[in-house]
């Protein structure tokens, strides 16, 4: 038992109940749950917990520079490893600083346990110094939360929190522990603190009749498409989805968070769908007669207007969360359960199928898109983000963990870095949290120290959490940072260009010299201005022993194409004008 061995190394035996302080119980319970890494920031109301940390040498604590960074780091740790991420903060501002990171994990269904200290139970509710009602504040952005005022309740709450975070559709859980509960003592009994068995959602059901109907639809479909989402990764259903696709020759379109769940190089992979998906992907969805949605939720960035979404397609929705059924798109056959389990029930009913005609139709529809592709344009003296990201992909052979921020560079990364493996793209999908990349990359690299980790961030988002550079320096973490620097809040500028008469209000952005900023933290870096320098700069970063920052000074007014404007149909996209890589005027073809 690895967990027991871990706890025993901390001189606290999980098998024999003993009297400990609440703070010790907290760490011992984490150790028992297999935790070896936490991200946090100390403060008054959590000091007893920090005081007890030295008794647990097998748990490494990474000190962040802002609690939001702790939440994002725990999030990135979880996404890279599949384990539950853990972050710790003090009461009041420490706790509220976590909130953005918790909401981010909630919207992307990331299992996390967030521990906050709170003021002594005797003064709860009195507006004591650094008191805030964090269980109230986080109620809508956690799967569940706990307010713990007694030492004996700590172990059961934390064990229950881990169970909730991991089970069904994963998500963040917050455990708020008052200072007096940390200081008091109680009998620690890890076994006795075990939660009751997971209560399955009673509306989760896979009807025999529905399985039969789904199988029949799949057998008879002429133009089917698999919609591959994040649930594939959470459920570990990569192989099952691949079997389904290969056996039936059904092409696979991916959501942003689904990237990596199906190999990009696979002949059946269509790539990213939705707002910035390639035209043939979205056209295939619009023309489909059957959609098999696997662990995705028909997000508005994926569907465009729902009124005209795949109107001719029957829809099978395989989803673990019953509240997602018919939420955004009405489906014909809901199969509510764990994706892998459902596919294992479905697959024996699906015979081999030849989908050559439909695949040829899709392939033919690619048409001029490849010509429009900016990475195929001759060097015109300008540096384009797509070229930078394409080179990072080429040089890392698609094997790196890419952690993006939010904005144009994120979409370019989704389009030009082709992921073969799950958990290699770490990106904020649902909440779209700028500032996510740098701290999340710290978490990812901590979880997978043997992997090459790249941050791809914009100049705007990077500045939101750039203080975490010092965390990287203090922890001596090897991360390669690519800043896609266009001097604008690029995605907002793009929207202003398309939809607000190019009124570039509040989007031109002054940045510090990022190379000097890195240097101030003892981190090497170079600025890159031309296409000719890109490859060697990437190699330089990779071969540097420590973290390395590349400041790519890219074309300022480039836009992400194609783009489906909000409220438009999935096939009504703005395309990159064919005659010039720079936009003269938006065209709707």
């Amino acid at each position: 038992m690895a967990t027991n061995a871990n706890a025993q190394a901390s001189n606290i035996d999980l098998t024999t109940p003993a009297r400990l302080t609440g703070a010790e119980i907290m760490w011992a319970t984490l150790a028992g749950e297999g935790v070896t890494q936490v991200f946090g920031y100390p403060g008054g109301a959590i000091l007893p917990v920090y005081d007890a940390l030295r008794k647990f040498p097998n748990i490494h604590h990474t000190l962040v520079r802002h609690e939001q960074g702790a939440a994002h780091a725990a999030d990135g740790y979880s996404r890279a490893s599949g384990k539950v991420g853990v972050c710790i903060a003090t009461s009041g501002p420490g706790a509220t600083n976590l909130v953005t990171g918790i909401a981010n994990a909630m919207l992307d269904s990331i299992p996390m346990v967030c521990i906050t200290g709170n003021v002594s139970s005797k003064v709860l509710g009195t507006d004591a110094f650094q008191e805030v009602d964090i269980t109230g504040i986080t109620l809508p952005v956690t799967k569940h939360n706990f307010l713990i005022t007694h030492a004996e309740d700590i172990a059961p709450a934390i064990r229950y929190a881990f169970q909730i975070a991991k089970s069904a559709r994963p998500g963040p859980v917050l455990v708020d522990i008052t200072k007096d509960a940390q200081q008091a003592t109680a009998i620690f009994d890890f076994e006795a603190a075990k939660p009751r068995p997971v209560r399955l959602h009673p509306m989760r059901k896979v009807e025999e009749a529905d399985l039969a109907k789904a199988a029949e639809l799949i057998r008879n479909a002429k133009r089917p498409v698999i919609l591959a989402g994040h649930g594939i990764i959470e459920s570990g259903a990569e192989e099952a989805v691949r079997t389904l696709a290969e056996r039936t020759q059904i092409p696979v379109a991916l959501t942003l968070l689904g990237l990596g769940a199906f190999p990009a190089s696979h002949p059946l992979s269509l790539g990213l769908m939705g707002m910035h998906g390639e035209s043939w992907v979205n056209h295939a969805i619009q023309e489909a007669d059957l959609l098999i949605a696997c662990g995705m939720r028909f997000d508005d960035r994926v569907t465009g207007t729902t009124l005209t979404y795949a109107t001719n397609a029957k829809k099978i929705h395989i989803e673990v969360d019953p509240s997602e059924i018919n939420k955004n798109i009405n489906v014909d056959i809901p199969l509510t359960g764990d994706l892998r389990e459902v596919l294992e029930l479905l697959l024996p009913r699906i015979p081999s199928h030849d989908g050559a005609a439909w695949l040829k139709t899709i392939n033919d529809s690619k048409g001029a898109s490849a010509v429009r592709d900016i990475k195929n344009l001759p060097d015109d003296g300008h540096l384009y983000a797509a070229q930078v990201i394409n080179d990072i992909w080429r040089i890392t052979k698609g094997n790196a963990i890419v952690v993006t921020d939010v904005g144009q560079h994120q979409m370019w990364a989704a389009q030009y870095y082709h992921h073969e493996q799950p958990r290699t793209l770490i990106t904020s999908g649902g909440l779209g949290t700028m500032g996510f990349a740098l701290p999340a990359a710290i978490g990812a690299k901590t979880a997978c120290p043997e992997k090459e980790v790249w941050v791809i961030a914009g100049d705007g988002g990077f500045q939101m959490t750039s203080s975490e550079l010092c965390t990287i320096a203090q922890e001596k973490i090897k991360i390669n940072i690519a800043i896609i620097n266009n001097g604008f809040l690029g995605m907002v500028r793009q929207w202003q260009e398309f939809f607000y008469d190019r009124n570039y209000e509040a989007t031109p952005l002054l940045s510090p010299d990022f190379v000097k900023l890195a240097a101030a933290h003892g981190i090497e870096g170079v600025a890159v201005h031309t296409r000719a320098e890109v490859a060697s700069a990437i190699e330089q970063a990779r071969s540097a022993p420590g973290a390395f920052l590349l400041n790519f000074m890219v074309e300022q007014e480039d836009s992400v194409y194609p783009m489906i404007p909000v409220g438009s149909a999935l096939h009504e996209m703005i395309r990159r004008p064919g005659r010039s890589p720079l936009v003269q005027s938006p065209e709707d073809e």
Partner: protein, 175 residues
């Protein structure tokens, strides 16, 4: 369409907030909400009434089940059920005007539960329409309504084969 949700919830601090917050988040107004102990130990029973589409009602039920403290959820839309509400109505009444109110109370099968020189309190249990009927008549009578306190609806599923209620108010069935 009006939906009545019955939820068994664990009897813990904050449960009401968690349940109510779910309706708030969907921007759905709760018409009435009652909470009290149930036949299950350490579980309370809630009755919540709200206007919602079939899709929204499905989502409410599915989302309620996702709350850790919620054990069971039932959505009584058109199913056979018994619904009651309790109302306490304080009316101004002097010895001169009392007799008229006594008559009304008799007709409505309500009760006088407090009698003072200037006022009295009427207790009435029944379906919503009947309580509103009494309030309407009282407000048209000489007695002035001073206060109204209503419990909100409590609903229980009736047996599927049930043809009528066996209470003392058969005309209140099928509400």
């Amino acid at each position: 369409m009006l939906h009545t949700f019955i939820a068994y919830v664990e009897d813990k601090p904050g449960v009401l907030t968690r349940v109510a917050s779910l309706f708030r988040r969907l921007n759905i107004n709760i018409h009435s909400l009652t909470v009290g102990h149930s036949e299950r130990e350490e579980q309370s029973r809630m009755t919540m009434v709200c206007e919602a589409s079939a899709e929204a009602a499905h989502r409410i039920r599915a989302s309620l089940y996702k709350l850790e403290d919620v054990v069971d959820v039932d959505d009584i839309a058109q199913a056979p059920s018994v619904t009651r509400e309790l109302a306490l109505i304080k009316v101004a009444a002097t010895p001169h005007t009392r007799s008229q109110i006594f008559e009304l109370v008799e007709v409505f099968r309500a009760r006088i539960v407090d009698l003072a020189s200037e006022s009295m309190i009427i207790e009435m249990t029944g379906v919503e329409s009947k309580i509103e009927g009494l309030i309407q008549i009282l407000s048209e009578s000489d007695g002035r309504i001073l206060e109204i306190c209503r419990s909100g609806k409590m609903t229980m599923r009736a047996a599927e084969d049930d043809q009528s209620e066996t209470g003392d108010d058969p005309e209140e069935s099928f509400q």
